[in-house]
Structure formats: C-alpha cells, structure tokens
C-alpha cells in the first residue's frame, strides 16, 4: 500500500526544515497563549463570542453580502462576484487589461484568496508582472516556491536559505543578517511600488454595515500596494464579511493574538472608497472581488463551521503533525488542520479526502481556534465520507474486527491468541508500520478476565 502523501513527504524532509518549522511554530504557539491571556480577561469566552458572530454571519451570509455590496457601491468601490477561481481570475485580468492594455507591474500584498485561485500564474499568462511585496511571499516568488503556512509563508526556510536566494537574485552583497536581508528586499520592492499600475490585496474583514474593507499586516507593504498604484483590487472569500463595525475590535485582537502573538498588528487599514477629488493620494479605482469558489456548497453541509475561519494559522502552529512536516506535505494552499478540512470541503473528497487521515486527532487545533471550529469532529466526518467514497481506505479488515467485537466468545478466544500473532514471522502492516520505530506491546501482569472470574 502506498504511503499517505504527508508521511511520504515527512520522510524526505531535511532535518533543518523540520527544525525551522518546529522552532517557529512552537514560538508562535507560546506567544499566542501569552498574548491572549493578557488581552482578554477570559480568552475562552472571547473565542466563544467570536464563533457566535461568525455563525450569525453564516446564517445571514446572503443578506450581509448584499448589504456590503450596496454600501461599497455607494462609496464608489466596484463589487464583482466570482463564482469560482476561473471567473475570479477572468475578472481580475479584465480589470488589469482595461487599466493597462500593454501589461504592467502588479504589486501584490499577501493574500490567501489569491493563492487559492493561483492568480500570479494567470496574471503572468496575460502579460502582467506580479510582484509579491510581503517579505515572505517575495522570497517564495523568487525561489519559485509555494507558501507553506497561511501566515508565515516561508516557515520552512531559514536565513541561510534566504541569504543564498538574495545573492542569486543579485539583491545586494551576501549577508546572513536578517535585518540586512530585509533592507535589501525593501530597496528592491520600493522600485516596484513606484512603477506598479495595479495593487492587489486580500481582505481580512469586510464590514457589511459600512462597506469598509479591513486589512491587517505588519510590514507596511500592504498599505503601499493598496494606495500607491492607480488601481486597487481587493479579493476576499465571501465568508470574511462581518455584520457591524462594533465587531471589529474583538476580531482584530483575536487575529493579532492568534496569528502572531501580538496585541495589535503593526498596521490596520480601512479601505472605504477610492481617492476623492480633494484627496492627494490613493487609487482612482477600488475593486472588490467576492470569491465563492465552493464556499456556498460548504455552507449547507457537515463542514459549515470551517467557514468561520479567519486564517490566523494558530491550528497549524499547534498541530503536532504540521510541526513535523510543514505545509508543503499537504499538497494544497491550505495545510495543517484547517487545510485537512478546507481542502476536501472546497475541492471534493476524491481529490483531497486523504488529508483527513493525516492527523492523530489530538484536538489541539480546536482548543486554540479563535472561532472554535470543531476540526477533529469534521476530520472524523470526512473519514466517514472518504471511506464510503472508497478514498484513502486503510488495509485493516474492519468488518472482520467488527465480527469479533460483536461475538464475545470469538473476541475472548482471539485475545488469547494475540501472543501467537506476535510470534508469527508473517509480515503484516501492523508489524511493518508499527514496528519500524517501536516495539510491539507485550502482555503485562495478570489477565483481567481471569482475575475477575477467580475472585471470591
């Protein structure tokens, strides 16, 4: 039987990569706990409150999106509806073409929605030059790599890897000092901002009540991407809408604390409109692309709560499997616990259902989730669905096991024969899978049933 992709990937992963991932995720997890404890009197009830707001959003998604569209439109933001990634790419490329028929530089702020639709690929195919302006995403781009974490895209790299990449790209004299590397990237990217006609960003929260698009970041590149170019295109998954401005403080604290262990992100932008005639700066056009791409279907199924996700990455940071493997092991833009549910939910059980098996079901993800997504429960439901669909079935003869477990005398006789099975030289998956790293268990002490039967 072939190894599951996550296990196969882990086996060829360099120790230095595992070390980088483990160090970064452990640090982020510790910072998360410390910050949320300082920010909230009761982090548990804050998470509960946030989950309730998100459930309200999911219950009223259609009307909230219409309200958002009406308010955005009234300020001059042009709203586009994209049913899938093909239509999203078509819309975005179309906007770019009408702004710059001969191609142009597109300054890109970090956005998982644009990763999901593989926008860079489509922009390049249409003759545009996307430049990732987030430091991590920039490194991903020059290395022709893919992000391995939804918040920290280069969590799988260390500064020595980055130093080599920058030297190769001739960004400046060779250095391994993180601050100097950052300055080299900054100098390089400044030129892109100056010459970019179009800026593309994601959206963290969009407030239906006012039509305000809220974006959080730490590097300032997002602000430049959304204000310096003449056109700003914001791409958001439809589930990112929030009902009221009053909901923002809770979510801004939760995302900063859960993602990076900050009490507040360094920057928080509110985009309400294009540049007005009396304003010196800002884009002439702001476009909002509302991306469905499978979300409406998820809304009405067993995995509905996955749409509460605010993309903080806390579940990835705490997941023992993610820590050993990095995001690339999952073979999808969304990796770790969130990816193991979101990938099959969006792309189908046949393509991605196997990811539900790549979990020890430890439940740490649910415990840290700022919106209390019951990920372990959904992983179990996905396993059930995958089994029925014949996807990623293990070789264990469960129907035989069930026969034994429903016939007590067979069960008891079988247990008596266990030491025999251990002694047989016949290879079986339990022995090879288990036995590669561990010894088989041995019976220890007395047998309970015999002891019970002999009691006076």
């Amino acid at each position: 039987m072939p190894r599951p992709p996550v296990e196969a990937f882990a086996r060829k992963l360099a120790q230095s990569t595992t070390d980088s991932v483990r160090r970064a995720t452990t640090g982020a997890s510790n910072a998360r706990v410390a910050t949320l404890d300082r920010t909230f009197k009761d982090p548990g009830s804050a998470r509960h409150h946030a989950a309730a707001i998100k459930d309200y959003v999911l219950d009223h998604l259609g009307e909230l999106l219409q309200q958002l569209e009406a308010n955005c439109t009234s300020h001059g933001i042009r709203v586009h509806w994209a049913v899938d990634s093909a239509s999203a790419n078509e819309i975005i490329v179309g906007i770019c073409r009408s702004a710059a028929p001969d191609g142009a530089i597109v300054a890109k702020a970090k956005s998982m929605a644009t990763e999901e639709i593989h926008l860079n690929h489509h922009l390049e195919a249409a003759g545009f030059t996307p430049v990732e302006t987030d430091l991590g995403e920039f490194i991903v781009q020059i290395d022709h790599d893919t992000p391995s974490h939804i918040v920290a895209p280069i969590i799988h790299k260390n500064r020595f890897d980055i130093a080599k990449s920058f030297e190769r790209e001739k960004l400046g004299p060779y250095t391994e000092v993180p601050e100097e590397l950052a300055m080299q990237a900054r100098g390089h990217l400044r030129e892109s901002f100056k010459s970019a006609t179009i800026g593309v960003s994601g959206v963290n929260f969009a407030v239906a009540e006012t039509g305000r698009l809220v974006i959080v970041e730490n590097e300032g590149n997002n602000r430049l991407s959304t204000t310096a170019p003449r056109i700003h295109i914001a791409v958001m998954g439809i589930e990112k809408v929030l009902p009221r401005e009053a909901d923002l403080p809770l979510f801004l604290r939760l995302i900063a604390g859960s993602a990076t262990g900050q009490r507040a992100t360094t920057y928080m932008h509110g985009v309400l409109a294009p540049r007005r005639s009396d304003e010196p700066d800002g884009p002439d056009e702001v476009h909002l692309v509302l991306l469905d791409n499978g979300r409406s279907a998820v809304l009405h199924g067993d995995y509905r709560e996955i749409l509460r996700c605010i993309r903080c990455g806390a579940c990835q940071n705490t997941c023992p499997v993610y820590r050993q493997t990095s995001g690339h092991a999952y073979g999808h833009v969304y990796s770790g616990p969130i990816g193991a549910v979101l990938a099959p939910a969006l792309e189908g059980i046949t393509a991605m259902g196997h990811l539900a098996k790549s979990s020890s079901l430890c439940g740490a993800c649910e415990e840290v989730c700022p919106v209390q997504i019951p990920i372990p429960r959904m992983l179990l439901q996905l396993r059930d669905e995958a089994f029925r669909a014949g996807v990623a079935r293990d070789s264990a003869p469960w129907s035989v096991y069930a026969f034994g477990a429903t016939h007590p005398s067979t069960w008891r006789a079988g247990l008596k024969m266990l030491p025999l099975a251990e002694a047989t030289p016949v290879p079986h998956p339990l022995k090879s899978g288990w036995g590669e790293f561990r010894e088989l268990p041995h019976r220890r002490g007395r047998h309970f049933r015999a002891w019970w039967a002999d009691r006076p």
Binding site: R3, V6, E7, A10, P320, V321, R323, Q324, T325, A356, K357, S358, S359, S360, L361, C362, G363, A364, L380, Q381, R383, D384, E385, A386, F387, R393, D394, A396, W398, Y401, A402, A405, T406, P408, W411, R412, L415, L418, L430, G433, W434, E436, F437, R438, E439, P441, H442, R443, R444, G445, R446, H447, F448, R449, A450, W451, A453, D454, R455, P456
Partner: protein, 238 residues
C-alpha cells in the same frame, strides 16, 4: 468498561481500577460479554463497522443502571462523543473517565499516601482534552503524595492516534520522540498517564530506543497506595 487494550495487554490497569472504585465504596459490575467501544473502525472512517460494535456495547451496558467507568479518556470520549456522532439525536451515553468519576461523582478529596512518594512525569492524553478532563488525574496523584515533574508539554500529543501510528509511522514516531525527549530533559524516569494507548505508543518507542524510562497508568500507582488489608479483600491470591 475494561477497554480492549487492557483486555489484551494491560489487565493490571483494569484490576487497579476495580480496586480504586471498591476503595471508595463502589460495587463494580463487569459483564464478560463486553468487548470494544468501536473506536478503531470509527477513526478509520468505517462507521458501519463502528455502529455494529457500538450496538453491541450499548446492548451489554443496557443490562444495568450503573454508570459506565473507563480507565481511559479515549474510550470514554468514544462512548460519550463518538456515539453522539454515530447516532445523531439519541441521548448521550453516561460514561465517565475513572479520575473524573472519582472526583465529580464520588467526591474524593483524599487518597492513601504512597510511601516513598514517587516522582513522575504526567502525560495528559488528547482524548482527555476532548472530554475536558483537565487535571483530574493529576489531582488524584497529588492526593497520594505523588510529585509531578514539570516538563512543559504535558498535553502535547504522544503521536499515537490509533491507525495513524501505523499509516504514518515516521510522523507519529517523531511526535512521540519529541515528547520523550522533553520528559528525559526534565530528569523524570517514569511516565504516568490515563490512557494505555498513549503509554503503549510511548512504551514501544522507549523499548526500541532502549531508553531508561518506564510507563504506568495512574490507576496502577493509586491502587498501590490502598492499604494491603483492604487490598487483600479485593485481590485473590496469585
């Protein structure tokens, strides 16, 4: 409920659990027709097989009004949470993890002291997290004078995950080794936990690597603290 692992390998844990329950005045029933809770096929996604086993378990336990107690958070979670998913809309099964039952149902506030007091590293099982056990087993151990050695990752997964340990042996083993390394750095020589699944996994790694660590269920420690005279009543010779 005995649990399949204690049935197959770790009978002493079941015996210790019975002695603990009798020590606090419970009358323990054991139906010899019980087998497994159904979790292995449930986790594998074969819910038809899981339901067959769960049906059997429900029939076995329907014969008595007594609450079900398991010396395992894993089986308790299956009975309580797993069955709720297998049988939507049906009332939850009344099942308790042993330490939870002793603290919340029997209101245990003291336990005979172990002499000499052992120093152990306590591993919290992930299913304990799932059913919100918190520190119930640690509290019982502390009542018996056991010293718990801090190693900073008590609720970190051991990597077992049932069939996951067989389908993903490398990942699972590395997760377990990370835990064992933390425990070894703390100077502890004994790991105590409330789930034999975790201890079977950690024990298998320990044996393969020849590490100087032993594993025990907390019930085995706490049963040892029960005075011999009382124990004699409950334990036959041999």
């Amino acid at each position: 409920m005995l649990t399949c692992l204690c049935d197959a390998f770790f009978g002493e844990v079941g015996i210790a659990a019975v002695r603990m329950l009798e020590h606090v005045g419970c009358t323990v029933e054991f139906n010899n027709a019980q087998t497994c809770c159904g979790q292995p096929p449930y986790n594998a996604g074969d819910w038809d097989s899981a339901r067959k086993i769960a049906d059997h378990a429900k029939r076995v336990f329907a014969g008595s009004d007594a609450p079900i107690v398991c010396a395992s958070a894993s089986c308790t979670a299956m009975l309580r949470e797993g069955y709720a998913l297998l049988y939507p809309g049906e009332p939850h099964v009344q099942a308790y993890e042993l330490s939870e039952f002793l603290l919340t149902k029997m209101n245990v506030t003291e336990w005979p002291l172990l002499d000499p007091a052992p120093k152990v590293a306590f591993h919290r099982s992930c299913h304990g997290r799932g059913i919100h056990l918190g520190d119930s087993a640690e509290r019982l151990l502390q009542m018996a004078g056991v010293q718990l050695i801090e190693f900073g990752a008590t609720d970190q997964c051991c990597g077992f995950g049932g069939a996951f340990s067989v389908t993903h042996p490398k990942v699972s083993g590395e997760i377990g080794m990370e835990k064992l390394n933390r425990i070894r750095e703390s100077g502890a020589t004994e790991i105590v936990s409330g789930d034999m699944g975790c201890l079977m996994h950690l024990g298998g790694l320990i044996e393969k690597q020849n590490l100087m660590l032993r594993t025990r269920h907390y019930a085995e420690l706490l049963a040892e603290a029960i005075p011999a005279k009382e124990a004699k009543l409950a334990t036959p010779a041999g």
